[in-house]
């Protein structure tokens, strides 16, 4: 099928299977599917198909899941067309961390999958996190060094069948979001939304294993402010079928009356699949009658909440409406919080309370981030940022001209006196040209063996993450050309208070090696978040007697957030010079210290790494429960004793006697004994204070 095709089949009162048949018949999709099956059969005598439906529902019959009867009808059709092996595939999702019975097989069973088609043909339900094909995505990109299900990768037909639902994270969740359930890690939110950019992840997944056909079950949809948290069903009597999941989502979002690009996970794939004059779209595009979307305020506040990893992971189990009979909570604390609070953010509410809670959590996250940038850099999370340019599109000339261009600019510092920190700098068209040098007491050979020059930028002050990809090596295997993306903490750090963002720069680099000197040149070609106009530089390692001289030259032009830009405009020139001197003095001192540390084999990276465990990190509520259990097991938090004390404190104490004037006389000892509630709490607080001091390095 050479051209993209999508069909929107709609008829009030029609059955789902009828509409699915009609959608497939209308636009030659059935023939296209048949063609793929025939090709596979001719090639190998067999044809396998894997259908990935939406299984992220929390009650049987929920409109946030694809109707199992429709999926089974599609499987029936696939068998009729010649498929020899058909499966329903998925993986455990984030909810498996806090709910029981969330493995793929049980969820499928509880949501109504019968493991056989209406005519009795058996199909499998497979867990796509099992039997993985290693390193499918290579060494770079958002899914670098990630494995992928062999069954999905090798299927002759890959299909996705989404439910039709609003979503308070992304506006809507259709086929592209559903595809996240192909990926192996259980905590999807942690690994594919917080740690990585969901849009880039889905785009990379489609690049490695394209989906051949996509469907949206919009027979009974889930609309409204409650989104998947508190589903509100709406009869929409529609099936959307398409040759591309992005096209299906494009139309699905339009039918909701949304800008399709509102969805962060969908946007990058949608840009690649924009309808063209050759795209055939059959069916009406007018929005569903009575459809209600998530309000922009709730969408924006949910995005703000994601700034707090702990806050976001804590609140999701609390908000989700769940059929506890089939999916009980694992942790009693979550169970209790959910019972108490999920109704407040339910479908019937206007979402205002949740919006406020989201904003509060988001602000807490921002405050913690600012604190980390300025005071406790190791508390920050390292950033995972894949290369975001296509190295294959770079021409040799892009690399070849680098050295001459940058050395020419470096010469502009000739004659500039060094400041107290030994740094020379000057303004140049809003940018700052600067250089500095340090003699390091290590022989050149030893130093360069320990500090690979092509990794120098990763050792610079305030580097918080990124990715590098060697594009050429010399005969000795040394990197001579490289593409690199770097993220640094906001510069200067204090701008974090006024909305400063990480400096995000993508560079092309060349490296020269001679027996007595190594030199790397870099030039910024992209700043994904517009945080930098320029961040170019040269680093040189050269032999100087028994030592090594390290020289760094740079040209930097970072955008300031509006409040700091306004302050910057009004700064006294002398004050501005002092601030620049201080900032670059600090940069050089710390960067050189880092290089010395690396040469001595010490780790200089700031921030804490992400967990590679499928379940991510323990949920905040688990940490709290674990802490309480530990105290209990050590006998330091005796809940019965505390309760007993509380009861005793509230109990009516009998007077020893009542005198003639009616005054009651009590035994003083009954009141003077300390209550047992205070002791364990004091003990817990003492432990927390001690733990904080150990973390801060002021205690052991």
């Amino acid at each position: 099928m050479p051209q993209a095709l999508a069909v929107i089949a709609h008829e009030p009162g029609a059955s789902g299977p009828d509409l699915l048949d009609r959608a497939l018949a209308q636009g030659d999709l059935r023939e296209a599917i048949g063609q793929r099956i025939s090709t596979a059969l001719e090639r190998s005598g067999a044809c396998s198909a894997v259908v990935v439906p939406a299984l992220d529902a929390f009650a049987a019959g929920s409109p946030t899941a694809t109707d199992p009867a429709l999926v089974e009808h599609l499987l029936e059709l696939l068998f009729e067309l010649g498929v020899t092996e058909a499966s329903v595939g998925s993986t455990r999702g984030t909810a498996s961390l806090w709910l029981e019975n969330r493995d793929v097989f049980m969820v499928a069973d509880l949501l109504g999958y019968r493991y056989e088609t209406p005519s009795g043909r058996p199909y499998d339900v497979i867990d796509l996190s099992e039997d993985l094909s290693p390193n499918v995505f290579g060494e770079d990109g958002p899914l670098a060094r990630t494995d992928l299900s062999r069954a999905w990768l090798e299927a002759d037909l890959r299909l996705v069948f989404s439910a039709n639902r609003t979503d308070d994270d992304d506006g809507y969740a259709l086929c592209l979001s559903t595809l996240l359930s192909v990926l192996p890690q259980a905590d999807k939110d942690y690994h594919y939304r917080h740690r990585r950019d969901a849009g880039e992840v889905i785009s990379a997944l489609l690049g490695a294993a394209p989906v051949h056909f996509a469907f949206i079950d919009a027979m009974v949809s889930s609309h409204g402010e409650g989104a998947a948290r508190a589903p509100s069903p709406l009869l929409t009597d529609t099936i959307i079928a398409a040759s591309d999941p992005a096209l299906a989502d494009y139309l699905g979002a339009m039918k909701m009356g949304l800008d399709p690009f509102v969805s962060r996970p969908a946007a990058p794939s949608l840009r690649r699949a924009r309808p063209t004059p050759q795209t055939r779209i059959l069916g009406a595009l007018e929005p569903y009658p009575g459809w209600v979307n998530v309000s922009p305020a709730l969408l924006a506040s949910t995005a703000a909440r994601r700034a707090s990893l702990a806050g976001d992971r804590s609140i999701r189990p609390v908000l989700q409406q769940v059929d506890r009979d089939i999916f009980p909570f694992k942790d009693p604390a979550n169970d209790w919080l959910n019972k108490t609070l999920s109704g407040l953010a339910g479908a019937g509410g206007d979402g205002a309370l949740l919006t406020l809670a989201n904003i509060w959590l988001g602000e807490m996250g921002k405050a913690a981030e600012t604190y980390g940038v300025m005071i406790d850099k190791d508390a920050l999370r390292r950033r995972e940022a894949p290369i975001n340019i296509d190295p294959a599109k770079l021409r040799p000339a892009d690399y070849n001209g680098l050295a001459a261009e940058l050395l020419g600019q470096a010469a502009l510092l000739r004659g500039v006196p060094a400041d107290a920190d030994g740094v020379r700098w000057r303004f140049d068209d809003g940018a700052i040209l600067f250089d500095g040098a340090r003699r390091i007491a290590q022989p050149f050979e030893d130093f360069t063996a320990a500090v690979e020059i092509h990794r120098t930028i990763q050792y610079m002050n305030d580097y918080i993450g990124g990715q590098a990809l060697a594009t050429r090596r010399d005969k000795q295997g040394r990197v001579t050309r490289q593409v690199e993306r770097n993220l640094y903490l906001p510069q200067p750090n204090y701008t974090a208070i006024g909305g400063g963002v990480a400096i995000d720069v993508t560079k092309i680099e060349t490296i020269e090696y001679t027996p007595r000197r190594q030199r790397m040149f870099w030039k910024t070609v992209k700043s994904d978040n517009d945080s930098a106009i320029a961040d170019d530089g040269v680093v040189t390692f050269e032999a100087l007697g028994e030592d090594t001289l390290v020289t760094i030259w740079g040209r930097q032009h970072f955008r300031l957030p509006p409040i700091w830009a306004a302050i910057d405009q009004g700064l006294d020139p002398a004050m501005k010079r002092a601030l620049v001197s201080q900032a670059y003095g600090q940069f050089f001192n710390r960067t050189f210290a880092n290089l010395e540390a690396v040469s001595e084999g010490r780790d200089v990276r700031i921030g804490k790494p992400w967990s590679d465990a499928p379940e991510g990190e323990p949920l905040p509520v688990e940490r709290l429960s674990g802490f309480v259990r530990k105290l209990q097991s050590e006998g330091r938090l005796d809940i019965p004793a505390a309760l007993k004390g509380a009861v005793r404190a509230n109990a009516e104490v009998k007077p020893l006697r009542i005198d003639a004037d009616g005054f009651r006389h009590f035994d003083a000892a009954a009141f003077s004994a300390p209550t047992t509630t205070k002791s364990p709490l004091r003990s817990a607080m003492r432990d927390l204070r001690h733990a904080a001091r150990v973390d801060a390095g002021t205690a052991e």
């Binding site: 029981e100 499928a108 058996p122 019965p640």
Partner: protein, 182 residues
């Protein structure tokens, strides 16, 4: 009277799981937190293929210091009286605790239903716990509130969670054994 219910899904056919729960408890005990041992006391095979079984459970939970002396090790256990149907689809049980046995009435059923197209099991554990209010009057006033809370927690979370752990442990044990019909 308090009701409790727990549903556990397993990737083994119902008869295998049920046979495991009936016959492998002794082997499963080490995998369970705070369970010292589970031992069969009596077993009577019925002519129709059913079975009456009494297992003794001995547990060793970490008790708060305040309970020292009040609860002694010999109180930490119970007898599990179970009546299995011949097709292993249903087990009717009753718990006879060593502590406040006259005051505590705990009984229920466990059903083993086919799931996942016959390839799996839905084990449904349902029961009732009744504590004679008269028994509470023997507890000191200050202890009644925490005791009630403990009972609530026991019913709401601990009993279902222990059942889940038990059948999951049986399933893990089954993974290591060749498939056979009980």
């Amino acid at each position: 009277m308090k009701d409790f219910r727990c549903l556990v899904g397993l990737k083994h056919p119902p008869q295998r799981v049920a046979a495991g729960v009936r016959d492998m408890m002794e082997q499963v005990a080490p995998a369970l937190d705070q369970v010292e041992k589970i031992a069969a006391v009596t077993r009577v095979d019925r002519p129709d293929g059913g079975c009456a079984l009494i297992n003794e459970w001995r547990v060793s939970p970490t008790l708060p210091a305040t309970l020292n002396g009040l609860v002694t090790p010999d109180m930490l256990g119970w007898l599990d009286h179970a009546e299995w149907s011949s097709d292993l689809a249903l087990c009717t049980w009753r718990i006879e605790p060593y502590f406040m046995a006259q005051a505590i009435n705990c009984h229920g059923t466990t059903r083993f239903e086919p799931a996942m197209g016959g390839r799996g099991t839905r084990a449904v554990f349902e029961g009732k716990l009744d504590i004679d209010p008269a028994a509470m009057s023997t507890i000191p006033m200050a202890w009644r509130s925490p005791a009630s809370l403990a009972v609530e927690m026991l019913i709401g979370t601990i009993i279902p969670q222990n059942f889940r752990k038990t059948v999951n442990a049986v399933a893990e044990l089954l993974e290591t054994q060749p498939t056979s019909t009980p």
